[in-house]
Assembly symmetry: C2
Homo-oligomer: 146 residues x 2
């Protein structure tokens, strides 16, 4: 998905929820795009000093609600955000239990689709209305094990 497509998709998602695509929200999406992976609020504020903390929190909540960004919970105290999968592509996370940082990775299609089938079956058995799955690896990243 190209940069301009992302912009339009986000705009559409926001409009659908009667929300405005303000300049602050554009800068926020831009920071997430620039980050290229899950970012903490602190990191976002560093990437774009014009953003204000409380607005970032509020806007991330809204953007998550409309499905434009996704929140990732790691083991540390900092929530991380990245562009939603619609805007990038389906992937998973390598979560470092030492520094808390998160990297993305993907599975081969075969494994992924097999997993998907199994998950839907399990969800159905539990009468659970499944919205998404999250598959993360917990361990120690190269930087920390060095």
């Amino acid at each position: 998905m190209t940069a301009i497509d992302i912009e339009e998709e986000v705009a559409t998602l926001l409009r659908g929820a009667d929300q405005r695509y303000t300049s602050g929200r554009r800068r926020l999406i831009s920071a997430l795009k620039k980050g290229g992976g899950p970012l903490t609020i602190t990191k976002i504020l560093e990437l774009d000093g014009s953003l204000r903390q409380s607005s970032v929190y509020r806007n991330l909540t809204i953007l998550e609600e409309v499905g434009a960004v996704a929140r990732i919970d790691t083991r540390d105290d900092f929530a991380r955000y990245e562009l939603a999968e619609h805007l990038t592509e389906h992937h998973h996370h390598l979560i470092c239990t030492s520094c808390g940082d998160v990297a993305d990775f993907s599975l081969d299609n075969e494994t992924e689709s097999r997993l998907d089938t199994a998950l839907h079956k399990a969800a159905k058995a539990a009468g659970f209305d499944i919205a998404a799955h999250r598959l993360d690896l917990l361990g120690v990243c190269t930087k920390c094990s060095a």
Copy 2:
């Protein structure tokens, strides 16, 4: 694993870290066993009124460190804890995005082992020292969709 085996395993794990298996810790393990699934601190305190909040926090941290319990992060603000997989069996979580509650489920062996292989391969490629994986379904539980 029988109840008495769990006790012994926890005792062993604690001893290995020069920690005592005090009565408070026994009651805590007992509450987790009784709960039969991931519990919030509040729920633990309700299940056993003799437990004190600060000790529960401290002991859960220690029990997690020695590998006797596991922490689960959901989308709400409450950490949940359950007995570690050594003491139960490998499983995954159905996380309700509405009420925050968590239920357990399992995958068939074939899918699980295939997934495991793929994950180790991905971790290796990233130079990531993998400790565990977590696979959760996010959605709405029967109780909340009713």
